[in-house]
């Protein structure tokens, strides 16, 4: 067993874990933060994306011990209390989710994308940046709209309403 300490969604946590515990298992099973999902076993689907030290990582491909001393943000830590993060609001406004299973990973990836690349994301950029996230429900059409709009809203620009 091994001791691991990190900050998760702003709160310090410490636990004694089996060293082979993945970060996603640590979040889901030890901290019961089940918003981060697992969709594959080959680091392909992105359902597990969280932010570690400010960057998106696939939590299924990081050992919890590698996050020791780090700062982790999950989908549960994104909203500001009752106020949704602009990217969360954009996914709802643009119907960027159906079953919701890929959604936490999509949103965390999208926030990271906007943080890195700024508010003006072209469709081509968004589609290529989503390479590591698989959605089986939406056909990505509305996810692209949501990310475009959410990135703008993150920069303080008003969110466009979905076309009707």
């Amino acid at each position: 067993m091994a001791i691991v300490s990190m900050t998760v969604n702003g709160k310090p946590v410490t636990a004694d874990i089996d060293p082979r515990t993945l970060l996603v298992q640590f979040l889901r099973e030890h901290l019961r933060l089940t918003g981060t999902h697992v969709g594959c076993d080959t680091s392909q689907c992105g359902a597990c994306v969280v932010h570690m030290n400010g960057a998106a990582v696939k939590a299924c491909t990081v050992l919890a011990l590698q996050a020791d001393g780090g700062d982790v943000v999950t989908i549960e830590g994104l909203a500001n209390g009752a106020e949704l993060h602009p990217m969360q609001a954009a996914f709802r406004e643009h119907h960027g989710l159906q079953c919701g299973y890929c959604t936490p990973g999509m949103i965390m990836t999208a926030v990271d994308m906007a943080n890195r690349l700024g508010p003006d994301l072209s469709e081509e950029t968004i589609r290529s940046e989503l390479e590591g996230n698989i959605c089986r429900c939406t056909g990505y059409h509305n996810i692209v709209r949501a990310v475009e709009s959410g990135a703008r809203a993150m920069a303080g620009q008003p969110m466009r309403e979905a076309a009707e």
């Binding site: 080959t42 689907c45 969360q88 119907h95 159906q98 919701g100 939406t138 059409h141 009707e164």
Partner: protein
Amino acid sequence: MTGTGIGAPVRRKEDQRFITGQGRYTDDLARPGQTHAAFVRSPHAHARIRSIDTSAASAMPGVVAILTGDDLAADKIGGLICGWMIHSKDGTPMKAGPHPALAQGKVRYVGDHVAVVIAETFAQARDAAERVEVDYEPLAAVVDTAKAKGAGAVVHDEAPDNLVYEWHLGEKDATEAAFARAAHVTRLDITNNRLIPNPIETRAAIGEYDAGTGGYTLWTTSQNPHVARLVLSAFIGIAPEHQLRVIAPDVGGGFGSKIFIYAEETVCVWAAKKVGRPVKWTSDRTEAFLADAHGRDHVTHAELAVDENAKIIGLRVHTTANLGAYLSTFSSSVPTYLYAPLLSGQYDIPAIYAEVDGVYTNTAPVDAYRGAGRPEATYVVERLVEVTARQLGMDPAKFRKKNYIKRFPHQTPVIMNYDVGDYAASLEKAMEIADVKGFGKRKRESAKRGKLRGLGYSSYIEACGIAPSQAVGSLGAGVGLWESAEVRVNPTGSIEVLTGSHSHGQGHETTFAQLVSDRLGVSIDTVNIVHGDTDKVQFGMGTYGSRSGAVGMSAITKAIDKVIAKGKKVAAYALEASEGDIEFADGRFKVAGTDRSLAFGEVALQAYVAHKFSGQDLEPGLKEGAFYDPTNFTFPAGVHICEVEIDPDTGITKIERFTAVDDFGVVINPMIVEGQVHGGIAQGVGQALMEGAIYDESGQLVTASYQDYQMPRAGDLPSFQVGMTSTPCPSNPLGIKGCGEAGAIAAPPAVINAVTDAIGHEEIAMPATPQAVWRAVQRARPAMAAE
């Protein structure tokens, strides 16, 4: 349209929990004292089990129990069932072998369930599962669909030729006569590639047994928890129906693959009593590839006959359908009654004859996957029609239009009676949105850049709203396919709607609330949709076959009508008027011709306090239930147009435009409906260009991960252009037809018709991967196959 009623693009109520990470999927649940299960799976496609030695595994840390097929047999637990009886042409019933939840004597595909290891942690269960020693005697395996019939390897002794059934539909003699007088016959050999459904949430289950009450609970990733309970109790015999509660909480996509009653879920409930603790299992992705039911996998020879005026006069097909190693829950119906009755497409075809051989192979079971039979039929029809137009030198749109059914109702030669439609309207609208007029110019521009551009149509029809119970009963279904609803009005006027359908991405919590809001004039915020728990909802048939709107919402409508009728009685007492004078509109019960009225909520309160009427004259309370059995299938139809550009040097196909115009009848929430279309198209494009399950000759699945099986990703797809036409469905009270499967049905032939248009010949099969396209482009254009 504004507001929250029928036709409004209301943002989804369920999204709040999903975008904040508060969804509750089966794997998110942890029961007190739970143990974890890992399955020992067959590494062989076909083998006899000589012995299973669990001694080393039992000694591993944390192991609670190891169970095998012998334990199942000792407890007299029955096998998994197939719920649709198909009879062969000669009248004999289909030949089904046994399907134990844990193998007994033999394994029949890679991934078949041999034993289960239950341990304190999942890691311990897995570690121990690797130490279970199984002595196998490998047997020859049969894998290839086309070669299964009469192969040396026999999957089940009950079906010595590996033939489950030799089924047929339609009129053989009339069809032969049509072909005899045909001016032109088109012949195609068609493979409908095998797909793996891949909802992003894998299957999971927790079984729990309460020794105090003798009751069981199963939390599971199911599209139809009541059907699961019925099968687990009545057929598999785990517990009486009233002692088994099945809960399907949030479910992360299904696409058909979560309809079925599988081995793992069955074992979790059964084992929970044996170990006296909850037993949890969550599939990993590799297991999902190996052991979820697959879809499609047809090999077909198809022919279309036209007369000298380019009028279609006959169609015949011979299809071999791979059913895998065992008959899954509804597998037998998919290549038969969900397939051949759609072979008339949107066309007036006087004679049709279809023969279907269902075969066993040493591969995973094959069952319904989004569209289920209808994509296979549409692919056959739309490839035949497109190729025929090309061979006749006719414009494919004109050829289609000429042969469309124009008068309704229309009885096809293959069971279906189409109630309504306007196929030309969808075609014209799609051609306009797709700018077909400008295609020639775009093609020339592509040619200047050395690229090949093609355009492909698909005029699809599907039979949804599954289904009239008597009709499906006469065709062999083991169940009725009605739906139930209960509308419970609370004393404060808020409402719970209990439905037997199940939402796993379709947005029922919003759409169904819109219906209630529309009919009762209440805010959707005061309406709660309850589904997915057999203790709350009495019975229901679940969600598949695009049935929840047409059938599920019709049941709700019926229950709402009863609520209004009862409300009028209550209002009559409260307003001291006669019942016949009470009108209900805009959420108020009014005395006709006066200004006396009560709001819906006030009447609800009166119904419960029961102060204004005698409980002997009128029962207190406001709660009504309904069962709705549809009078017919519904027939959503439309036209999809795909435009591709191919790079002849790399074989890469880029979808430049994808246009979908669909007639779904009345649409409750256009935002959600468009989302369903998008998702369906993505799966259809996946089938056409990327996805394909491949078994090698020994029966190993070589596409068992996302690195080997190509799922459509954002960069593989364009944005879609979606339009609608509408002929309201006369067969249900709301005029709804259903939209869940359209894209997956329509897209594959649209894409392949575009690809073949670009490369200039028909010799390519799905998936048209860059390698396949590159080869097809290199090949000299062969002479056309037909006369």
